[in-house]
Symmetry: C2
């Protein structure tokens, strides 16, 4: 079918005005004014609709079309008429309209203004609504912008594996991946246990008989794998799914979500922050440029401060403050009468209320908090010269709190080994990771950006279930 | 650190010639000629190296550097000297060289020409070799090209979920995803079984107590979910991981691999083939343009026909032949004395030997075989008017065989329901899928491209384990 997408009509209206075109899409509304009528058609290629004008006299099946309701698939051929004085820049005067598919009377999205809660039960249909059309196009444009940002800077995209047999990731609860008989799994025999010299316990599940010959799980982070590639390609990034088997039923947590994890060789904490700030601004700017209609709708109906906030973030320098300084700011706020639910003192893990105070009330812009106490951060973060803080930085943004976490990595073999030992971890499990420090180690840094958090930020949508095509959360993996 | 990547030196050598620059990277070789020496440095930003020239007199730590062996991280500052008459267009005359990280003497990649089998045991280090540098950069460039191709055509990128509770995917064996106690899973009580009216069996594992409240698996395809979005956005694509728990230990199968699954509304079988052909040519052309050094190396050491084949495919029209016609061609070949291991007759599923004969010997170019017998294809493929073939097409390429499978989807509710019934499938499990045919159904088509197959094709590498950063296959999920 030689059809023109509606987005092309908008791009090339000058050229196409007065021409015959064929457009295929779905009805958003049909109005019958007796001798003429209007079909509002959307084909998903852009947020904007096309107004199709039909005349009873000129259209053989005028009655068929004018009686349609709900979501019908039509193919419309006609002349594109430029209407410079009307609200829309053009309309299509229909010569023929063919019905590809009608809409059964029990269409679940008939009524205007369905709640987002109801729409979560209609995940196969909700992309047809204005809200989800906007959210999922912005998601797609943001994802493409992330690839462009890193590719333009010669980063190599690495697909780190999702199935892992390392039990040492430590960033969260993991899902098991298995093909063993769930009811009668093979068990370790007394003989095998004895042979193993204490490694195996008789009567435990015998994972050596599972698909991968070991106990396997879904990864919580691709970072350690990404470092393998950073030590060859210099700058790399991942962009893929990640999992958490945490029983947390909040608006910000999903069991399956997408992460971007860049890793940069010959880079320190400032290099990471420079890169992350540039990346966020690049994505914001791209979305503002490519999705003005989507953002305008979201700004009107979802979050009235959205456009202001995006403009503000895209143009302001992010603040950078040390954790130690941040704690002083929070302590002063408490002394001045500000109430927090959680007490503040050096050594605490900052709570969302603290993060939001810093970014929303104190700095009033995105803020990197740097150099956290070692004991509240991961083992691989680089120890600072003070011996008690590490070169980590979290990026906090107004309205959300933490959106990025990152650090310079410990590149010194002896320091990293000592840290693994101190934390009672098993160095055997980190052999490959330590190898990177044995052979051509260098200063390097990286970070993780939760993609859904970013999409929530870009759209003003408050629940992670509404920015994932088909969200997976505790008790929910339908569709 | 204000460093310049080696790729930038090549891009901007005119401008940077005679200037002081700092370059950070790893040693590929160090040669000491007594009073002067050479360091071949690579920083991963491009395939090309930088030659660093050091003079004993001018470099304070000449002895330290000239004695390095293996893979050492260096930061070199000096003057970029253009050498228009030499093999390399420029070299760096070092003023200072700082060692960031040395290389322990037991570096596993010391010896030249390690086998790919050995390198699979060194997955954290193998990206440092020329072969894997080439493969994984091409993988990254190809992935970015795929996103560009679809984004330029206004396709929406959809992240379909990996965890699924549909047991109805049918495209292959699935991995179970669970957080139940593996040894003592909860079992369905006699009481619960009775209450369920036959749906549950007493003594079976009680999946209602698992994380998602149901039995969950890793998906084998995002297609059915992608269709949900195609019926709203028109043109969509997925690009993400997919899983098969198949016990097949071949050079072409992995348990975890990446797929691209475009889905297009108002499109028929020819539209899919046009799109897929354009996409493959776009990716090939982009890789040839952006990775000439990588391809030259692969053409020299891995597959001497690689460049010829890529040029040929990028510039030739793909053949299109019906399955029925293809069977006649194969039958004629048999009659003419060609030997196949598997017999040929109408109704068989084509074997790799048949596919390769068609694309390599008969058509001598990529070939779409169309309109397969319904009984060897999936339930969702559109029934042709003959009542025995479906509007499916596989794309076969010389040297590989099938690289893409796709079809027009059955958009007619009654025909689809009848097919589900005939195949003894449970229509309840397809409620959402059938809903798409109830409300605004339209002609649509889509396809699946296995990304690793494509990377194998682009690089000439014969084993899927060598195009995946960290491959997962039966018995292997290390790193």
């Amino acid at each position: 079918m030689d059809r023109t997408k509606i987005v092309e009509l908008y791009r090339r209206s000058e050229e196409l005005g007065g021409q015959a075109v064929t457009v295929a899409g779905w009805t958003k509304s049909v109005r019958d004014m007796k001798n003429f009528g209007f079909v509002t058609l959307n084909d998903g290629s852009c947020f904007k609709d096309l107004q199709v004008v039909m005349n009873r006299e000129a259209l053989a099946n005028y009655d068929e079309i004018s009686h349609l309701s709900g979501y019908n698939a039509l193919v419309c051929t006609g002349t594109l008429k430029l209407t410079p004085d009307a609200q829309q820049p053009f309309e299509l005067t229909a010569q023929t309209i063919t019905v590809e598919g009608t809409c059964a009377a029990d269409y679940p999205l008939q009524k205007k203004r369905a709640t987002v809660e109801f729409l979560r039960t209609q995940q196969h249909l909700r992309p047809r609504t204005n809200l989800f059309r906007a959210v999922f196009r912005i998601r797609s444009v943001a994802a493409a912008a992330i690839h462009s940002f890193f590719q333009e800077r010669d980063f190599v995209y690495v697909n780190t594996p999702l199935i892992t047999t390392s039990d040492c990731e430590g960033a969260g609860e993991m899902f098991r991946v298995t093909t063993l008989d769930p009811k009668n799994p093979p068990l370790v025999s007394a003989e095998a246990a004895e042979k193993s010299g204490g490694a195996l316990t008789a009567g435990d599940v015998d994972w050596s008989q599972d698909f991968f010959g070991k106990h396997a799980s879904l990864t919580v982070s691709g970072q350690l794998n990404a470092e393998n590639f950073a030590m060859a390609f210099g700058d790399v990034y991942t962009f893929g799914p990640t999992f958490r088997a945490e029983n947390s039923n909040t608006t910000r947590h999903a069991a399956e979500f997408w992460m971007i994890e860049p890793e940069m060789a010959f880079a320190d904490l400032n290099d990471y922050m420079d890169n992350a700030e540039a990346m966020l601004k690049y994505v914001l700017t791209t979305v503002m440029e490519k999705c003005p209609d989507e953002l305008a709708m979201l700004n009107k109906f979802v979050d009235k401060g959205l456009l202001d906030r995006l403009h503000h973030v895209a143009t302001s320098d992010f603040a950078r403050v040390s954790y130690t300084e941040a704690v002083k700011i929070l302590e002063k706020a408490v002394a001045d009468g500000h109430k927090f639910d959680y007490p503040v003192s050096w050594g605490i893990d900052l709570q969302t209320e603290h993060e939001r105070f810093l970014t929303e009330e104190h700095f009033k812009r995105p803020t990197f908090v740097t150099d956290y106490p070692a004991q509240i951060k991961a083992f691989y973060m680089r120890m600072n010269d003070d011996g008690k803080t590490v070169a980590a930085a979290d990026c906090l943004v107004p309205g959300i709190g933490e959106i990025i976490g990152g650090s310079q990595r410990e590149e010194r073999l002896d320091v990293l080994e000592r840290r693994i030992h101190e934390l009672g971890m098993n160095p055997e499990q980190y052999k490959y990771y330590l190898d990177l420090r044995r052979y051509g180690s260098c200063k390097h840094a990286g970070y993780g950006l939760g993609f859904e958090r970013l999409v929530m930020y870009l759209t003003g949508v408050g629940n992670i279930r509404d920015v994932l095509p088909h969200p997976r959360t505790v008790g929910n993996a339908d569709f």
